[in-house]
């Protein structure tokens, strides 16, 4: 059995509110194996970024992890103190954000910023750091690495800035890379280039947790996919299995919505209503009010995850049924 890079089990993140608290991440379990790209897909506010922040130890107060376990190669991340976590971030754990412009320092040349990341975690000379920076730039496909490393962030295009971010994330050879919507701010052509880069990194053995709202990107890239809705994972499975045989009504709705764009002239498939506002989840199954299969059972309790075939896990009382 392949080693697991990341194992999240029953993770819950809570924020206190006037009405007793709200859980943006609720009982989430998922595993990233070595050299695997796992996709976390869902609409805005479903908790996918919050799950990533929990792994990075970056949940801001008053929010906090109130349950579950996060293991990085067997090491319990939730048991680490602030200092231990800091030495892990940028080193064994790295993250790339959606907007490279706000994650880079605008007044420092990009090469220098990557060097700083190396010097922080490795006992090497400045020269060695510079050498590794240029190598990292070349590895992520930045041409004229020497010249680009002296550029300031505003002098680079969005695609190049994102490459710099990826180079910075990869420079200490992290065990796990978390990519939070890394292509959302980019055009399709740049996006395709970055996805290609992600595949190359996986093939070199990097494990990646890839967050996106774009089902096309997920289908093209990920080995395994988790679909999140209102803080919970509604359905997870091998990407092919999930796209070919989705059983959760929400997954089916999303895929139907996307694929109906190909059928010209017809009315597009939609999911009725909209995502519930944070903190005002319906009782029972959170997808209930938008679901064609919802009945008394669904309104009474939230379904527990069950495995319907190896690796294919779903949270639905009526998984696989067709609405009448």
């Amino acid at each position: 059995m392949e080693q697991n890079t990341l194992e999240i089990s029953h993770l819950t993140v809570s924020f206190p509110t006037d009405r007793g608290g709200f859980r943006p991440v609720n009982d989430v379990s998922l595993t990233v194996r070595k050299g695997q790209i796992v996709g976390l897909v869902g609409e805005s506010g479903c908790g996918k970024s919050m799950t990533a922040r929990a792994v990075m130890g970056l949940i801001r107060s008053p929010g906090k992890v109130t349950g579950g376990q996060i293991l990085l190669e067997g090491k319990d991340l939730l048991a680490l103190n602030g200092k231990e976590m800091r030495s892990l971030r940028g080193n064994e754990l790295a993250m790339v954000f959606q907007d490279p412009m706000t994650s880079l320092n605008p007044v420092v040349p990009v090469g220098k910023q990557v060097e700083e990341a190396i010097l922080l975690h490795r006992r090497v000379s400045r020269e060695e750091a510079r050498k590794r920076t240029l190598e990292a730039f070349r590895n992520v496909g930045i041409s004229e690495a020497e010249k680009r490393s002296r550029s300031y962030p505003h002098e680079l295009s969005g695609g190049l800035r994102q490459r710099v971010m990826i180079a910075m994330a990869m420079v200490c050879c992290p065990r796990l890379l978390i990519a939070d919507e890394p292509t959302t701010a980019l055009d399709v052509i740049m996006e395709a280039q970055i996805l290609q880069l992600m595949r190359q990194m996986r093939d070199r053995g990097t494990s990646i947790l890839f967050i996106s709202h774009n089902l096309g990107v997920i289908a093209q890239l990920c080995d395994y996919t988790c679909v999140m809705y209102a803080g919970r994972i509604a359905e997870q499975g091998d990407t092919r299995e999930l796209f070919e045989r989705p059983v959760h009504p929400y997954t089916r709705g999303l895929l139907g919505a996307v694929s109906s764009l190909d059928r010209k002239g017809e009315e597009l498939e939609t999911i009725r209503g909209s995502v519930p506002a944070p903190g005002s989840l319906p009782a029972g199954c959170p997808f209930g009010p938008r679901c064609g299969l919802c009945d008394e059972t669904c309104r009474g309790a939230c379904p527990e995850p069950r495995e319907i075939s190896p690796g294919h896990i779903v949270r639905c009382f009526h998984a696989g049924e067709v609405p009448v």
């Binding site: 805005s44 289908a219 190909d262």
Partner: protein, 317 residues
Amino acid sequence: MSEILLEARHLTREFPAGKGRMVHAVTDVSLQIREGETLALVGESGCGKSTLGRMLIRLLEPTEGEILFRGTEITGLSAREFRPFRRQMQMIFQDPYASLDPRMSVRSIIAEPLKTWNLCRDREAVTERVLELMEATGVSGEMLHRYPHQFSGGQRQRIGIARAIAAEPSLIVCDEPVSALDVSVQNQILNLLKKLQKTRNLTYLFISHDLSVVRHISDRTAVMFLGKICETGDTETVYTRPRHPYTRFLLNAVPRPDPRRRETGGELLAGELPSPVNPPPGCRFHTRCPFATEECRRTDPPLRETDGRLVACHHPV
């Protein structure tokens, strides 16, 4: 074939970029929009599609060129002369959070154009008309006195659409109307736009970078690259048999939601978008084009009829 509603001839727009330099946002673009159709403008960010869209309804003045609306030239008109045309042209914006005044209720947002154009005789008539428009766009009438922050993104976009159709325009420029919305809501808005087009005989200029959405909604497509149209024709023709190399790369890059058909990265366009301050001589695409020849570096190809659509390329694929 239906009548031509709007025609642009040789439109150019430049913006000063300091030190005497110019951003060539749109260069020598000509196009026609027919009554009742949806024309899509697609391209990467910075290609000039929004600048062009805004110029067509005179939210921006062109540096050069002319625009004809139902045969009348509108470019040279004074504000007073242009007023009756203004009512015919409305806009739907990308960001439903930024395009509605947070201090105005839904009623006052939708009533504003009705008052501007004096379309209702009294307060009751305004309210009645606002409720009608809310029903037509799928916003519950009970929400009449609510404020934008009390709505989801999809609901806000519906309010923006209600405002756009209030003055009964003939042309609506939709600038990325669904890009800020979640997948499950995006389709609701697209269905609504289609329904309104049919029932109210609307013509759309649909600006988007999302090629799947464009394929579904538009009758004709114009692909832009660095301020110029490089290919334009019936949407199905352009999508199924693209002839401009750029169109091909663009369509190839769209990630398909089908894990069985994975793009293994065969035909990927390398390199960066050239700067619109200093566009390359000759064909603007030649610095990225794998088929570029000496001719492409020297002369800029005009749009020519090729295989049932217009292509600006010396060597159409």
